[in-house]
Symmetry: C2
Subunit: 236 residues, 2 copies
């Protein structure tokens, strides 16, 4: 249950495989790699909590992370499930605006914020690259708002399944669902029970199969897309 932090050199991370450095000059990548340290977290561990000092920026290299916000009485909304290639904590200004927890075992690149921000000004193309990434997140956030504000329970669950399927560019429409039903509920603005009931109904209608709790197979994508309501969009 202990997080490891080691120097990057020791682990030989390939800069070409990191999302932040993609498309940058070799020298620019080198600058980034110089300020990175690799870090691992076990499933269930907290990376940082809402309100913490936002002194680091992270990129997920492997695994899945949930981000969430809490209300004083404990109501939770998961703002995103992030996997490899996503940045964490970039938007936070001084303090973290959400909590990040590992859903699976996670490997991270950690950048000290001060060094990272200096690089943004010095490395040509980096700010532009980050701007593109953030714009994509914003686009996804707007789709989420439509889902949370205007979709029915069935539409929400169907949209969620399609989103997950598109993200795992998996051939055969089989989705790995490492998050709990509770996570899904808090991601969709529903209760656990409603998520469970809706999945059962989709199964009964032969739209999906649920061989194990953590695996869902899409049997009839067309009808699922109809149920999902709006745009068949995917992102983040």
């Amino acid at each position: 249950m202990f997080a490891q932090a080691v120097t990057n050199a020791a682990l030989k991370i390939d800069p070409a495989r990191l999302a932040v450095t993609r498309g940058l000059e070799r020298q620019a990548s080198g600058h980034l790699m110089a300020i990175t340290s690799l870090q691992k977290k076990n499933a269930g561990e907290t990376l940082f909590a809402e309100g913490d000092d936002a002194d680091s920026v992270y990129e997920i290299v492997q695994g899945m992370v949930r981000l969430y916000k809490l209300m004083p009485d404990g109501r939770r909304l998961i703002t995103g499930f992030l996997s490899a290639g996503n940045l964490l904590n970039l938007g936070s200004d001084r303090i973290c605006i959400y909590t990040a927890e590992a859903i699976t075992a996670v490997t991270l690149c950690r950048y000290k914020r001060s060094a990272f921000e200096r690089l943004i000004d010095e490395v040509p193309g980096l700010a532009r690259r980050l701007l593109v990434m953030t714009s994509h997140e914003l686009r996804a956030a707007q789709d989420r708002m439509l889902l949370l504000g205007r979709k029915s329970a069935t539409e929400k669950v169907a949209s969620f399944l399609l989103l997950m399927a598109d993200r795992q560019d998996s051939d055969g429409d089989a989705i790995e669902v490492p998050m709990t039903r509770s996570d899904i509920a808090d991601y969709l603005g529903l209760t656990i029970e409603t998520v469970s009931r809706t999945l059962t109904k989709l199964k009964q209608d032969d739209l999906i199969a649920i061989p194990t709790v953590t695996r869902i197979e899409i049997l009839d994508r067309d009808r699922l897309e109809d149920l999902a309501g709006g745009e068949g969009d995917a992102e983040i």
Copy 2:
């Protein structure tokens, strides 16, 4: 009912008053001003529609704009009410991802996208400036998700009132509400009737006063903040 487009020189917009150029070198501002044209829209006019070619980026100079997404059956979600200092269409990649309509008469700076993107690479500090603006939007979007997914009708309306009050850095907690009840409903993920009923109840409880339909006064900010539930945040 006709939008006007004139050269910028003719109207002598002060670059220091534009949000995009704030903090940039004088020369950089000059580059931006060179590709800008000023444009006006009357209340109710559409700036661009979801699905349109995203060939321009706009900054709002004056007035208020609503952004929304529609579902095929007509359900609408307003993703934001934008006023002076906000950028429009920056995140859109090739096509507009939302519709923008003028709520009041609006003055805009219009940048051709191709020229704007070229400047992002050429003008030092611009990408960084845009990154900060986009990050703020993302932060606001996450607060909205919590509101849409987890707050009750009363909490939503109370949050909305506080948000509007904070945005109009108005002294006396009197809010100008240029948008219709229908706009507010589609912003909060509610129906017109629920918004109206909730406002009436807040009025009966002496938390607010509604001298005219487009004006709401906050009488008891403390209790309203209690009702609003989570964080007393404001942004965008």
